[in-house]
């Protein structure tokens, strides 16, 4: 019995079980536990299938359909196996988290069954072996996530437009893929990926197919300018769903682009520029919007766009340096590491954001504060997540960006003119993105968890339930594990990368022969601990002689009142940046001043209101929507109910056919 076959059939059985349990179990804690457990099992079986595929299992599963010659086939590949593994891992953590988190609408039968379908969809997409299966699995993932985005439609009015944007953009992604992959299948006259890869076809048609497919995958990955659904859908979906979407579903877009580079290895040079053209703006624009928004989940959504941008840059560098295999392999490794590390820390961040929302009822950073005292575990996870997202030492983000930097630095000028011009620019953008990410996550962690609570909700925050805490801690341990021992991860990835790309050094460190660089995080940690020990000892000795004293009033140049309104909020924290990047963000500010009736000079009140809208959406997409509405209105005037006009249509059609057929 082929191992892969066993894993996938087990996965299918568990899906049926999960759906049955979701529909049959009694509402309340009973259903949450049972359905959550079933989804946990589902994601677990997916992880097993991913692991089996990653470690090079063979096998082929094909399900017949009523149409001749159109079977749905699944074949394990190492690359697909990795992405199933990542999605499965994130699925396990999110299912565990959901058991404690869901209540009300997100604990309904439809939500649980949609959650199971969503996980199952993501497990199958990387294993699909031909165009039709890939598209069907893609839509299974789409329907699962669309239903989940709408769960809280009764609570907030903003859920419906967000869900609509999400559904339409997901369908745009599906149609772009259908076009792109269809053209590729036509160019190599077969729908199976193996044949497309073997055909090595090239020419104008293949380029069109490639660009369409890349745009389709970029829409799902949330790359600028196709990212508008991401900052709308993620804040509205329940946190465990937005964690799964951000950490796992977005990666299916990345898997697609990597698949394309494997199906069409010898593409022309400008293909890499297309991917780079999507990557650079995504990284910069994504982190810029993240740094100025004050809604925590919207911040995390935009940071996903930024990380997708970095991954696309890594893939583009891999495509730009075919003449230097060492560098191309390092860049590919960087892309994989960025994907895995983003999956880990974004899950931790979204789950902690959900726990904060669960505890304080607040989503806006301006109304949080002082959570470190009230929600220690969540703050700890948020700290680790923010460290990972800001790519600071000892976290998975650091290892991933380090690999990307090594690839960029060592791809020196010997390649062609194209890379010479592009590489310094890419280096500058990656560095600026890293800098802004620093500010963003300092703001996110600092404003949310330090100093005094800025709203009654934050003041009465309570810690999350046990299952949520376990899930969050597991996610943050993932971030730290990859950060500390990247060597173990490299051993797993060897089946995907070309031989000799990276070696795991003794103490879990990482060596890149291609770029002759080595990183040993455990050594850095050891030295840091060795340094801090004497300092802590002296601090402890000093503390015994001069104990700390508490006073109700801070210094603040002698005038501070203890009200929490005196503290900086997330909006004010990002105000200098908004001013520096004003033309890219186009903030709309208005100050309304109400004077006292008696005299013009005395102010009664002054209100400052700043509105930051997504420029891509307000300038690009809104115009398209208005155009479509005008087309709709024009269409309605044509169909105005006058029978003579209808008869004229038929008559004109008759005459046109008569003359057309004349010939």
């Amino acid at each position: 019995m082929n191992v892969f076959l066993a894993a996938v059939s087990a996965h299918a059985l568990v899906l049926a079980l999960a759906l049955l349990v979701a529909l049959a179990a009694p509402p309340g804690r009973g259903r949450n536990l049972l359905a959550g457990g079933a989804c946990l099992l589902l994601a677990g079986s997916g992880t097993v299938a991913g692991w089996v595929a990653l470690t090079g299992a063979q096998g082929r599963i094909s399900v017949p359909t009523p149409l001749a010659g159109l079977d749905l086939t699944l074949v394990p590949t190492p690359l697909g196996g990795l992405f199933t593994l990542v999605a499965g891992g994130v699925g396990v953590v999110c299912a565990l988290y959901a058991i404690g988190y869901v209540q009300g609408a997100s604990a309904s039968r439809t939500s649980w069954s949609a959650f199971a379908v969503f996980i199952a969809g993501m497990m199958v997409v990387p294993l699909a072996a031909d165009v039709v299966t890939f598209l069907v699995a893609w839509e299974v993932m789409a329907i699962g996530s669309t239903v989940l985005v709408f769960t809280e439609h009764q609570a907030r009015a903003s859920v419906r437009p967000a869900g609509l944007w999400y559904a339409v953009m997901t369908h745009l992604s599906f149609l772009l893929l259908a076009a792109g992959l269809g053209v590729l299948a036509a160019a190599s006259s077969s729908t199976s990926f193996a044949d497309i890869a073997a055909a090595r076809s090239s020419g104008g048609l293949v380029s069109i197919g490639f660009v369409l497919a890349v745009l389709g995958f970029a829409t799902k990955a949330g790359a600028v300018p196709l990212h508008v659904w991401l900052p709308r859908a993620h804040p509205e979906a329940p946190s465990h769903v937005s964690a799964l979407m951000s950490a796992a579903m977005v990666k299916m877009g990345i898997y697609g682009i990597l698949l394309l580079t494997r199906l069409l290895p010898s593409g022309p040079g400008w293909w890499a520029l297309v991917v780079l053209g999507l990557g650079l703006p995504s990284a910069l624009y994504g982190i810029l919007q993240a740094s100025v928004t004050s809604d925590l989940k919207r911040l995390l959504a935009y940071s996903t766009t930024e990380n997708v941008g970095l991954i696309l840059i890594a893939i583009a560098v891999a495509m730009l340096t075919p003449t230097r295999p060492g560098i191309a392999a390092t860049a590919l490794l960087a892309a994989l590491l960025l994907t895995i590390s983003h999956a880990a820390f974004k899950t931790a961040l979204f789950l902690s954001a959900g726990s904060v929302l669960h505890g304080t009822g607040e989503r806006d950073l301006d109304r949080m504060g002082g959570l470190a005292l009230r929600m220690p575990v969540t703050t700890g996870v948020l700290a680790v997540g923010c460290l990972g997202a800001a790519a600071l030492p000892v976290t998975s983000g650091f290892v991933a960006e380090w690999t990307l930097l090594q690839a960029l630095i060592h791809a020196d000028a010997h390649t062609d003119r194209l890379t010479t011009a592009v590489l310094p620019l890419v280096m500058g953008v990656v560095a600026l993105t890293a800098g802004l990410a620093l500010l963003t996550f300092t703001k996110a962690f600092g404003i949310a968890s330090l100093a005094r609570p800025r709203s009654p909700g934050a003041a009465t925050a309570h810690e999350a339930s046990p299952s949520m805490r376990v899930a969050m801690v597991v996610a943050s341990l993932g971030v730290l594990a990859i950060g500390l021992l990247p060597g173990q991860l490299i051993r797993v990835l060897t089946t995907i990368l070309p031989p000799g790309t990276a070696r795991a050094t003794g103490s879990g460190g990482l060596a890149l022969p291609g770029a002759d660089a080595a990183l040993d995080p455990t050594a850095i940690i050891a030295f840091a601990v060795a340094l801090t020990l004497p300092m802590v000892l002296t601090a402890y000795r000093l503390a015994r002689r001069a104990p700390r004293q508490r006073s109700p009033l801070g210094w603040g140049c002698g005038g501070v009142r203890t009200s929490s309104r005196m503290q900086y909020t997330a909006t004010s924290y990002a105000e200098p940046l908004t001013r520096v990047f004003a033309d890219a963000l186009a903030p709309t500010r208005d100050v309304t001043v109400t004077h006292v009736e008696e005299s013009r000079h005395a102010l009664q009140s002054m209100a400052y209101q700043q509105q930051l809208v997504d420029v891509v959406e307000s300038r690009g997409y809104v115009r398209v929507v208005l155009l479509l509405d005008r087309v709709g209105d024009w269409g309605r005037t044509v169909q105005n109910g006058n029978i003579h006009r209808y008869l004229a249509f038929s008559f004109a059609a008759l005459v046109v056919v008569l003359i057309g057929v004349l010939q």
Partner: protein, 318 residues
Amino acid sequence: MSTTLAGSLAVAVQVLAITLAAPLIVGVNRQVRARLEGRAGAGVFQPWRDLRKLMRKNPITADGVILASTLSVALAAASGLLVALLPLATNLTAPGLRGDLFVVVSVLLLGSVLIALIGLDAGSAFGGMGSSRHMMVSALVEPTVLVAIYALSIPVGASTLSTILAARMSEPASIVSPVSALALVALLVAVIAETGRLPVDNPSTHLELTMIHEAMVLEASGRDLGWIELASWMRMTALLGLVANLAAPWGIAEEFTAPALAVGIVAVVVKIAMLAAVIGVVEIFLAKLRLFRVPELMAGSFVLGFLAVTASYLTVTP
């Protein structure tokens, strides 16, 4: 003596030396400025006295402040780690601690984040204002630092600082090449911005609206303030030492012997002191830039770094 043990001991010695030397460097800088301003000045060893006083005083923290003590100690540790990673007194490195470009910049930024968090945790308007401005400046500084060191690494072909220094010592001509000159100027501007010297931030001011570094440490007191001051002095010394060594790499200890190490330490302290004195003199003539002109300065230094990179591409013979 295995190289790893030698390397680690050398680095430990370097950290100890720089920890002791840092207050001295700041003392020199302040003394030079005092003399030029016609004041007697508090003497070169005043910072050591301040430090001793602060370490013995009771720290006072307002209600609602959560992580003040742990963050200040962590900040000191981060600065220590930064000093360990940079080739200041000795070029030897412990195996895991090769001063790789990105690792150095990340540890530098870790320090920035920690001090920003201290500012936020203070819970007062000034702490938030200082922290927000500091993070904006360090966000704009990071591209310049990365691109500048990247430009220096291209002629050498490796991105670890110790190899760059060894290469520059072997052929001094490369030090005055256009690539190195442009990169060094860009790096110097970036270091000045990062350590909060004029024209980006005035270290000696307490005027609410202009201070960046001082605003963050406003609420700190007693030994918390002590750790923070020590950390920022060590950071400034380390960064100035990096610039000094890149400009004049001679005297750095190549192998692990007592005399070489002593020479290395003395050489680096003298070089940093001279650089601190020069900065002191220059600061007299500079006024603080308006905050929203700082991005233009940063953009300028980034372009310098960018030119250095493209220049290095052109001169490299294929």
